[in-house]
Amino acid sequence: MEPINAPESIDLISLAPVLVLSVFAMAVLVLDLFAGKNKALVVFVSITGLFLSGVSALAKYKLPVYSFNDSYVVDHLSVFFIFLFTLSSALAILLSIEYNRREGIRMGEYYSLILFCTIGMILLASSTDLIMIFLGIEIVSICLYVLAGIRRRDLKSNESALKYFLLGAFATGFLLYGMALVYGTTGSTNLMKIATAIHEGNVNSMPLLLLGVVLLVVGFGFKVSSAPFHMWTPDVYQGAPTPVTAFMAVGPKAAAFAALFRVFTQSLPELDSTWEMVLIVVAVLTMVVGNLGAIMQTNVKRLLAFSSVSHVGYILMAVIAKNSIATASLLFYMLAYAFMIFGVFGIIIMMGREGEENLEIENYAGLGYKHPLLALSMTAFLLSLGGLPPFAGFVAKFYIFSAALKEGLLALVVIAVLNSAISFYYYLKIIVFMYMKEPQQEIRVSLSPITLFVVTVSLIATIQLGIFPDPIIALAQN
């Protein structure tokens, strides 16, 4: 038997962030056996791993670099996303410390699962091959199914995991079918080759390809939680442990968006007349459903789940616009959103009590006088989510809207702006409760220094990105 020569395109350096994280994830698993009940070491190792992984994303300096038979790429988009993922995972881990102590989650596997999930996200954002994207999505999803259900004794957490799992696997079926059809009609799983095949008219059957594209929209639509595939979001967000909810709302969603963006703009740009219309419908529906859903909510986590659905609607506009501003605005929005979400959830965790209690809006009554600074930060985050200047949320929204406007999507922008006006209604509801209602019960806030640190960092970033967004935008624009 003749020996198999390793292909030249194997480039382990471009894979550095994944490798570093894999090593650390396994190290965490092993260390956990010796660490005992104190998880400080495990946390420290995890954070170090994430940091090193983020740094190693810079290993390649002449971008873009394609490797592994063009199925893996290091370009500016993926480097930016790797930073975002490592940052958001680190923040999620920091948020978890206090929460896990309170809820009695003492499993070191928790941290390694977050690291594994981050590996999946990095793969998702850097892959240019349908098989890799599929695997990336599955790594992310499987870790999230487990993380959602990690409070094993809690029925809500179980239910959240079960719902997420069954629906996620169901949606994976659609996604996979779509990928299979795209492969079959274009003859390749590589995004660039698919684009070439479509460009050269080298397609077996156009209708079948379009069917595949619609199935891809369904599958990705589920993963980014856009309407009408969003129904799992509120239930899962509510039931999952709060730090996991924050984690889910940022990293995996951004990763799914990265893949969605790559698949639709890099491999299917010639079919944009089809998917653009489909995505416009989805985006509008997502905004409206998210906002309407949020209005009547009384549980803060559920409210934020619906609000995150509406944000997905805005972000989809960037994919639809697909010009140079759109890419930058997508990245910027994701980053700004990450800080807002971690800030809000940090405060939610501090307000929470053992057993996922104290999550109703009424529980926030009177926070304004008891902890004015905390309430002020919460107000800043909520107003930023609503898109009020001078916070990051405004700049992010403004960017996406102007990107869409540049493509002449006036009607879409009008709907989006109107929706963001409606969204103030429910963000204000929380603010009103904090400042203008008598407290129903004694307010007891667990001011753990690490959680406070996360909130402070998020607050500074939210304001910083709102007032001096330029450096980040310059970075995102490359």
Binding site: N69, M107, L113, F116, D129, I131, G149, R152, S205
Partner: protein, 168 residues
């Protein structure tokens, strides 16, 4: 000639798949599923995908379905209780859903039948052998292959975390 083997195999698989959905008891469903998977292995083999056909038997029928059976028995789900049966029965919903599915299927069939099919390329003798698949896996698709190990590791860790009896 091939059609003669294809139709029985396809019919067998579809019937068993329907059996999975219709069967009242989970055990029955699982048995039907195993049968269906064996049928599909035959279909794969027909297309010279011998390696995948064997994997289908080993992984699906051999590993995955065993896990299913194991869990069903562990949870002791008989699924024969009258209460359970009445819960499962919802004729209207079933009929509506079936109609919906048939509609979609019709559309898909429509699309598939529209394809203008050239006669497929003559494939080499080595097509679908373990050697060729292995070579592809370790050259062009070495990254997915390695990433799959991360996936399996993560899944293993996750399953252990959720299912282990002792909570620490």
């Amino acid at each position: 000639m091939e059609l003669l083997t294809f139709y029985p195999l396809a019919g067998f698989s579809i019937l068993l798949a329907l059996g999975v959905v219709i069967n009242k008891s989970p055990i029955g469903s699982a048995l039907c599923l195993i049968g269906m998977m064996l049928g599909l292995a035959g279909i794969f083999a027909m297309q010279q995908a011998h390696f995948i056909a064997i994997l289908q038997v080993v992984i699906y029928a051999g590993a995955i379905m065993v896990l299913f059976m194991f869990v069903i028995m562990l949870l002791n789900l008989k699924g024969t209780g009258a209460e359970w049966r009445s819960r499962e029965r919802n004729t209207l919903l079933t009929v509506l859903t079936a109609f919906l599915a048939l509609g979609v299927l019709y559309k898909i069939v429509d699309i598939i039948l529209e394809i203008d099919l050239d006669s497929p390329a003559k494939v080499a003798d080595t097509f679908g052998t373990a050697a060729v698949i292995g070579e592809t896996l370790f050259t062009d698709f070495v990254l997915p292959f390695e990433v799959a190990s991360i996936l399996l590791l993560a899944a293993m860790v996750g399953a252990v975390v959720l299912a282990k009896t002792k909570l620490d």
